[in-house]
Amino acid sequence: MGKDNSSSHELTAIVKPTESCNFACKYCYVDQEADKEKMTIETAEKMTEFLLNGRDRITIIWHGGEPLLMGVDFYKRIYDFQREKLTEGKMIKNLIQTNGSLLNDEFVDFFKYADFKVGTSIDGPKEIHDMQRVYKDGRGTYDDVCRGIDLAMSKLGNIGTISVITKNNIYRMQEVYDFIKEKKIKDMKLNPFFADGRGKENEDELSINPRVFGEECIKIFDEWYGSNEPFVEIKNLQDYINRLVSPHLGPCIFQHNCREKFLSVNHKGDVYPCGRFSYEQEFKLGNVYTSSLDDVQSSPVNDQFEDRPEKTRKCSKCDVSSYCNGGCPSSAYTYTGKILAPDYFCKSFNMLFKHVEKKIYDDAQKSGLIK
């Protein structure tokens, strides 16, 4: 399907077909009392129509909970339904974010056939990973995750990974980076711990200081950027370069108004502004059975996100906020109970933007691109 010049017809839906999980990771933002129900195929079909009736280019991120607990037949059926419903000018891209332990030949072969992009989570070498990504009985999950990752890599060529940075590995980020590179994974993220859900219960054990996270990220940035190796991408650090290069690039957390392009749907068909808000009833925007996409996007619930960087006092005075736009509203809400507050990791954003800006301008000057 050809490209067009419009971005207004695009939307990413973070879909949580189940909140259940076979893991009990210490930092999970889903809490212990998560709803164990699963999305029915009828709700998944209704959601597909809801999305396609509102936008032309849809990206669905199958998230959770653990989305593979839905079984491969669920994805085969909804993929077939998507194909039936795609009319001229419409497009759906499917991505799935899994813990990796349930990946098997049937899943991976289907993902290859249906062009589902796969992301997994691994927090570094076994010793680090097994401290925080555990089964409900406390056993480490490393061996099962690596088996799944190796299988997916062998059949799909590349996958993405997220490594969560906590007190356990904040001073060992170099080991995490080296480990992911050794696994021949080209696409990694080093995401900081958020104290939400079960993570809130383990905050003392896991919490990291935003300034320290900034300092440690700068060390990794210098190593990676200085290596001049473009085939390994640390996405959350590449994001700083991208944002400084062009207003059109950068992740959701640095956009002026992420609501334009994102929403989340849970197993009941309830719609929220983002997956990270989907456990807060006050942010519910509607339901795929009773609302249209226009209804949910014009919901008064969304008004409180409007012009957030300008309305947040600290951001309005900051020389970095034109790039970070105050960061993620969910991070602000998690730590302060307010949307109109800066991201908890504001300090690290500030440090990284200033550091990265200097690096890229120095390089552009040395190569004669700017005077």
Partner: protein, 61 residues
């Protein structure tokens, strides 16, 4: 920080191949491509190995 000034706006895009740093070169090529196509905002809480999506940006080196 230079408020709302983006590197892409300050350079001649024909000069991008002169850059020594391949990581910055890739970012500028993507930016040049994205200006003429759709805007893709990655979701911060997922990572799905989408290198293949960027293969049409051409040679990263």
């Amino acid at each position: 920080m230079e408020k709302t000034k983006y590197l892409l706006d300050k350079i001649n895009i024909d000069d991008i191949p002169k850059l020594d740093n391949a990581i910055l070169k890739r970012a500028l090529r993507r930016a040049k491509y994205e200006e003429n196509a759709h805007i893709d905002w990655p979701q911060a809480h997922c990572n799905y190995g989408d290198h293949s999506d960027h293969s049409n940006y051409g040679d990263w080196n």
